[in-house]
Symmetry: C2
Subunit: 431 residues, 2 copies
């Protein structure tokens, strides 16, 4: 969306451009600040000014408004950024995929642009160059709701390539919408990964005072360099205040809030580490395994679907869909249940060769098909327990397992075994 005709005209008349310091009078009040770029989400009549306080203020123009330039910004060409190898610093690859965090921020104006080059991406967080040498590339520039199985494979290959070239860690700026799915996919494809691979996102775009983009990126850099724990992780704000980030295991993490900065939670697990923005990194659980061989196992079966059970779910609708897939994960109710009529659909789907895995729509806690008759009926119908995996991780794992083998026994064995920290040891707790 561009500026309205009114706003364009007033800015042109005042010879005002992005980065200039303006005085704007609107609705009887006077505002002074640096003109921020107008982007897609802005109201066409609103100028955004960065105030001395650092906060941005939106000023709505109308016919009685006045715009005046107090000082013009220097209009120089941005020098190309050099990626020099400072001695003593570790090297971290940054592979951009898109999302709020991967937008380019001009520090002078706080402007947000889509990150289109490695240079832009690095320019956004200059502080990171004191932490590590950054080797940046932009692989995709998409909203994460458009990530798909093929994109996961491309990304896993790119990560493996960087690790093979010897980088000390990989940071993947990623849209938050499906970051948990991608982290699970990388966890399975990058078997025995020998160095940290950290997905990092932002819930607030970089032009907002409350943005978590810089803090999360820098924390990811510090985690790669200072902690160096091998594995695939998601790093995001831990609380709604600006003090710590939590590093979650890539197979145990879920976006649990639409907008808060601390939207991500470890489910049925603790975070592996806590990064204090002004302090040390606490390791909460060490998930690294010693002396592992590493492999890229990037065969994924795409013909797998995720369904949620609900009362009234009609087997006449869902049985054909289940039969048409090689694998189905059902987020059942409670301990992993479905209605009797859906149990019959599971039986028929399984008989036709579909692998059916039962997870729980409760998310927290563990599937247990041995407690109630419905669960035992599901076992008899051929369903496999997702144990304490969230349905999304069970979905991604089933895609991966079916990419490795077609043998039903092997699929069942792999689905119920802990391969990447995705299944916690069973405890008998009565809480």
């Amino acid at each position: 969306m561009n500026y309205s005709e009114l706003a364009s005209r007033m800015l042109k008349a005042a010879d005002a451009m992005e980065g200039d310091t303006l005085k704007v009078v609107a609705s009887g009040r006077e505002y002074q600040g640096i003109l921020m770029p107008h982007h897609e989400f802005s109201d066409p009549d609103v100028l955004v000014l960065k105030m001395k306080s650092g906060y941005n203020v939106g000023v709505r123009l109308d016919g009685s408004s006045a715009v005046e330039v107090i000082s013009h910004a220097e209009r120089k060409e941005k020098p190309a950024r050099r990626q020099k190898n400072e001695s003593g610093l570790k090297t971290v690859a940054v592979i951009g995929t898109g999302g709020t965090i991967a937008s380019y921020v001009d520090y002078r104006t706080g402007a947000v642009h889509p990150a289109l080059s490695a240079d832009d991406l690095l320019g956004a967080v200059p502080e990171i160059s004191s932490i590590c040498n950054v080797k940046a590339r932009v692989l995709f520039s998409i909203f994460s709701e458009n990530m798909d199985v093929k994109a996961w494979v491309t990304l896993a290959q790119a990560v493996r390539e960087e690790l093979d070239k010897g980088v000390d860690g990989v940071i993947i700026p990623h849209g938050t919408d499906t970051m948990g799915y991608t982290s699970a996919a990388l966890s399975f494809m990058l078997e025995g990964v020998e160095r940290p691979v950290v997905l990092v996102g932002a819930q607030r775009s970089s032009d907002r005072p409350s943005s978590d983009a810089y803090t999360n990126l820098i924390a990811a850099g510090r985690f790669c360099v200072e902690c160096a724990m091998p594995g695939v992780f998601v790093l995001m704000h831990e609380t709604s205040s600006d003090t710590t980030a939590a590093v979650h295991l890539g197979t145990k993490v879920r976006k649990m809030h639409t907008s808060r900065r601390d939207a991500f939670a470890s489910i049925n697990s603790r975070p592996v580490a806590r990064v204090h923005f002004n302090g040390a990194i606490e390791v909460l659980q060490n998930v690294a395994k010693e002396n592992r061989e590493h492999y890229l196992k990037d065969n994924m079966e795409e013909n797998v679907a995720l369904l949620q059970f609900y009362p009234g779910m009609d087997p006449r609708t869902f049985l054909p869909l289940m039969k048409a897939h090689k694998g189905i994960v059902i987020a059942g109710s409670g301990l992993g249940h479905v209605s009797s009529s859906m149990v019959e659909a599971v039986r028929e789907a399984t008989a036709s060769g579909t692998i059916v895995v039962m997870a729980s729509q409760c998310y927290y806690g563990r599937v247990n098909l041995n407690v109630y008759a419905t669960g035992r009926d599901l076992i008899n119908a051929g369903a496999i327990s997702a144990e304490d995996m969230i349905p999304e991780t069970a979905l991604v794992k089933l895609m991966w397992v079916l990419g490795q083998t077609d043998d039903r026994k092997k699929v069942e064995g792999m689905m119920t075994a802990d391969l990447r920290g995705e299944i916690a040891e069973r405890r008998d707790v009565d809480d």
Copy 2:
């Protein structure tokens, strides 16, 4: 599952029956306690003894075990319970539907039986008769994963009938698996309900020391009598300790743990009240509206489905399914998003007459289709925002709304309006 041949033989030889106090020697240890009934979930070789401490112990018999009766229980007929109207007490209807909580518990032995009569149901919690006069009936006796739209309608009619007869409140013991769906369904069908309707469940069967069945039932009785807030609610343990129950609004509650007693949470809302088991009832928010007319609006459209978006979701599979339904709720990613190819499927489904509602698989937070391009594309494709409703409540509401009207504009208006506390007022929070 019955006792094994070995166990049956040993019990018969000792003339031991349920309720008798036994001495059992097994694996070199001696146990003394009251013989509990053997039920479906028990191991065939295991006797369950209630010890003096109140805890149950499972004792596995083998060829070297010995069973001896120390004292026989009185074997008297259970007297029929009288439902007398004690003066001064309010009257509460208890409508049984099944589930763990509705099992009959014999206080002498702690035995669990399915509740098949109103007398059994009442016998389970004799303390409740000092709180209110109970008018009990068993409507269903099913696992709640088998509740469906028709059962919701039958239940709503039964509740309305009891209220019309003048009871002061209605308690509905219900399986926990789908209790949140049922509470949402009753909330919509019982428009303007004038007295409390409380669904109550148990996560632990009554024969376990940690059972929450009694405490929750008694708390529900107290809430109906002492608080008398009109509305449809779910009452369950508030924490994992045995001190308080939370009363959740029927449209804002979700089962968030497979097994913990505090599995239920108010999502995007606070509980309406806290019942201290040994103290007062705190009202946390009063949701009662004054002077309402009440109606039973029990028309529900069954041809509505719930889908969860995931990366790789294939429109070729899901478009025909969407078109075949009158309404679809999609639990989208983040603020309520789907991939571009699924946006196209939404557009085609909407064009064919299907109502599509976007909720969020994050559960916490609010759908906002105005922030990103994907959301705006979804609005243009005809999708309706579920606001801060959980997907399950959005599903049930859409079934109900489509049962009231076919007019697209009216459906959209009703779906985005707060009718039963299901949509909170929008706040602009930057946390």
